[in-house]
Each structure stands twice: as C-alpha cells, then as structure tokens.
C-alpha cells in the first residue's frame, strides 16, 4: 500500500528539512496544485509538529515505551532504526520480554496488514464521500 501523493509530500518534507529554498518553492507549488491549499497548510503544520516532538524526545532522552519496543522489534531491524544514536536511550529487552518480542514478530506483520486494510477502507470511504 502506498500513501496517496507520497512523492509530492516527500519532496515537500525533504526540501523544507534541508532548507533548499528553490526546491521548497517548487515543491510547495506542486503540492498546492495537486492537493489544494488546505492540504499544503496541513502538511506544513505536521512538519512543525514533528520538528517539535523530535526535539522533545531526543532532548529529554526518553526511552521508547516498553509495549512499543516489544511490538516493533522486526520493523526497527528492517528499517535500521536501532542504528540511530538516540536508540541508546532505550534499554534493550532482556529475558522473557526479549523472548516474547521474538514471538511477537509474526503478530507484528499481522497487525501491520490489519492496519493497512483499515486505512485503505477509510481512504476508500473518504474518496466516496468526496464524489
């Protein structure tokens, strides 16, 4: 499942994050033309929100919550998120919890698929409502 208009959104985020002003101006225009001005404003707001949340997380050195840690072991390994410097703030799972997280990997895939289906249904409903 892809995200609708993923490339446009990615270009917008990257240009903003890397402060490439000409690229950002083009990305803004392309996003607005395809998705509308309201979507552009909402996208900018999410960027602002997560620039803030990232500083809060890494600045406070918070640990990843245990439930999330156990449920995302496979995903983190696949995306190499555990290689981030800030991963050191979260103690590794040990003992029974580590064993449980290994058994939870198939469940992880099942949950991802279930989430994707739920999101696809919601997107299909939105598109129907828009017609």
């Amino acid at each position: 499942m892809g995200v609708v208009d993923e490339q446009l959104l990615n270009e917008f985020v990257e240009a903003a994050a890397h402060r490439d002003e000409p690229r950002l101006a083009e990305a803004r225009e392309a996003l607005e033309m395809k998705m509308g001005a309201n979507a552009l404003v909402d996208a900018a707001a999410v960027i602002g929100c997560f620039q803030r949340l990232n500083r809060m997380s890494d600045g406070a050195g918070i640990e990843l919550d245990e439930q999330m840690l156990m449920m995302t072991a496979g995903l983190r390994a696949e995306l190499k998120i555990d290689d981030y410097v800030s991963a050191a703030n979260t103690p590794k799972l040990t003992g029974l919890k580590r064993i449980l997280s290994v058994f939870m990997r198939p469940l992880e895939n099942f949950m991802m698929r279930a989430m994707q289906k739920g999101i696809q249904k919601a997107q299909a409903r939105e598109q129907e409502d828009a017609k």
């Binding site: 309201n38 707001a45 803030r52 410097v85 999101i119």
Partner: protein
C-alpha cells in the same frame, strides 16, 4: 517595570489612539500571526495557538525570565546560521569539534550550547553530553525549560518556513520573576530528565494529563515544567490531530490530508532528524 514597547503599540501611542497610562501589554501579541493577507487559507486555530505559544514564551517560566525565554527563542533562529553547528552537523564525530557558537551574547555559553545542539542536531545528543551540562551551573529543570521553549519555537518557525512565510517577530518579554516551582511528583524514570508519571500527576499537577488513563513517554517528557504540558494539547490539536483521534490511524480530525499522509510526513521528518522514538 514595563517591558519594551512593541512597534505596533508605539505607532498607536503616537497617533493618540492609545493612552500610555493604560496597560496595553497584550496589543503587540494580539497583532502577531495576522494571516489575513496570505496566499493560503490558514485555519483560525493556527494563529490562536501560535499567539498562545508566543505569550507562553514571553512570560517568566519556572526558572527563566520572559527576557531569558525570548533570548532563547532568538538563539534558536541564530543557530541556523551558526558556523560551529554547521561543522558539527556535517561531521561524523560532532563531539570532537569544539569552538564557540555564533550567538548574541545575551545568554550564558552553556545555555547557548543547549539551544544550538537541540535546534540543529538533536538526533545525535548523548546522555554524557547532558550529564556534563549538569556538572556545571545548569539544573535539570532549567534544561527542560530551555528544551520546552526551543521545541515550540521550532514548531512555529518550521511551519512558517514550509509555507514560505517570514518568521514572526518574537514577542516582547513580559516582566515577572520565575516561579522556581519544581513539581514534587517528578521522578527519574524512563528518560534523562525527571518526569511526572500518571500516578504522580496529583494536587497542583492533577490536570496536566487531561484525565488520560494511559500516557506515553513523549507526553511526559517536559513535565518537569508543568505549564509546558498544559500548552502541549493545544499544539497537538492544532498542528496534528485531536487527542481523541490520535490512537485511530483512520481518523484525520477533518484535515485536508488523509491520516496516512500525515503519518508519512511525521515519519519522514523524524527519519531526517534521526529521531529513534
């Protein structure tokens, strides 16, 4: 002592529209974030939240005066052009590069170091760096308050930047003394800094988590400064999705983006910032 007069107030005084005797300290703040003439339709909750953020920065907090907090905000903006920060960001070993930050000189060097690192390279912060800061004059609560100001300034500035809007002038500091309030429920657990757990949110802090029966660490990250938590809900509701919609990934709080698109943006920003959480 009244703070410096904002340009808009000065203009109104000169024209005779305002008396100098009355307290118009909110006038400069009310004129901020006037999005009326922009090419994009900005939802009304955005300027309202931004004004609340600016007001929050301008006032004395727990450990820093309004003047200090506005100076911290100014330093966030200065960090973008800082040569030392650029060198560190480009380096594989940022802690091996020493030097002096390009700063205004209004804040102590330790505070400038915190503001600049948080602003430009937060993904590579280490506990040893934080521990070293606390060996000098900075306390954990002072650090968290700096972090809270840096974080909200970045939210507003990055929103503006993404839309190609000019940076909003920073607010005029509001006179007042820091409260020196340290919430008794803040304990070390789950982070470098003490945080208030759900069970610890009692008495004066009973309201900070809005009656939730479950919180995650990012929600309590700044709880050593309770007012920062109180502001957080309105920021999330405005810049992201409403709290009630957050757990359900098919809900988008009526935004013009699908929730999956919002999560994609969130993930990309976090990935670029090397944010593990």
């Amino acid at each position: 002592m009244r703070g410096a007069i904002a340009p808009v107030q000065l203009k109104l005084f000169r024209s005779g529209e305002l008396s100098r005797d009355a307290d118009h300290s909110n006038i400069g703040r009310m004129a901020a974030f006037a999005y009326d003439h922009l090419p994009y339709p900005i939802r009304s909750d955005i300027p309202n939240t931004n004004r609340a953020i600016w007001d929050h920065i301008a006032r004395a907090g727990c450990w820093w005066t309004g003047q200090d907090r506005v100076a911290i905000a100014a330093e966030v903006r200065r960090a973008r052009g800082c040569k030392l920060c650029r060198e560190r960001k480009a380096s594989l070993a940022p802690y091996g590069i020493s030097g002096t930050h390009d700063s205004s000189g209004a804040l102590p060097p330790d505070v400038v170091e915190v503001v600049h690192r948080l602003s430009t390279d937060s993904g590579r912060l280490k506990k040893s760096w934080y521990d070293d800061l606390l060996k000098h004059d900075l306390t954990d609560a002072q650090y968290v308050e700096i972090l809270s100001v840096v974080a909200v300034v970045l939210a507003v500035d990055e929103f503006h930047h993404a839309l190609g809007l000019p940076m909003e002038p920073l607010p005029e500091p509001i006179p007042g003394k820091p409260s020196q309030y340290r919430p008794p429920g803040a304990k070390p657990a789950g982070a470098w800094v003490p945080m208030i757990s759900l069970e610890g949110a009692i008495d004066a802090e009973a309201d900070i988590y809005g009656g939730s029966n479950r919180i995650v660490n990012v929600v309590s990250a700044l709880s050593l400064i309770p007012d920062a938590i109180r502001l957080a809900d309105s920021i999330l509701n405005t810049y992201y999705v409403f709290g009630a919609d957050m757990p359900n990934l098919s809900k988008n709080s009526g935004r013009a983006l699908q929730r999956s698109q919002m999560e994609f943006i969130a993930a990309r920003v976090s990935s670029i910032n090397d944010c593990f959480y």
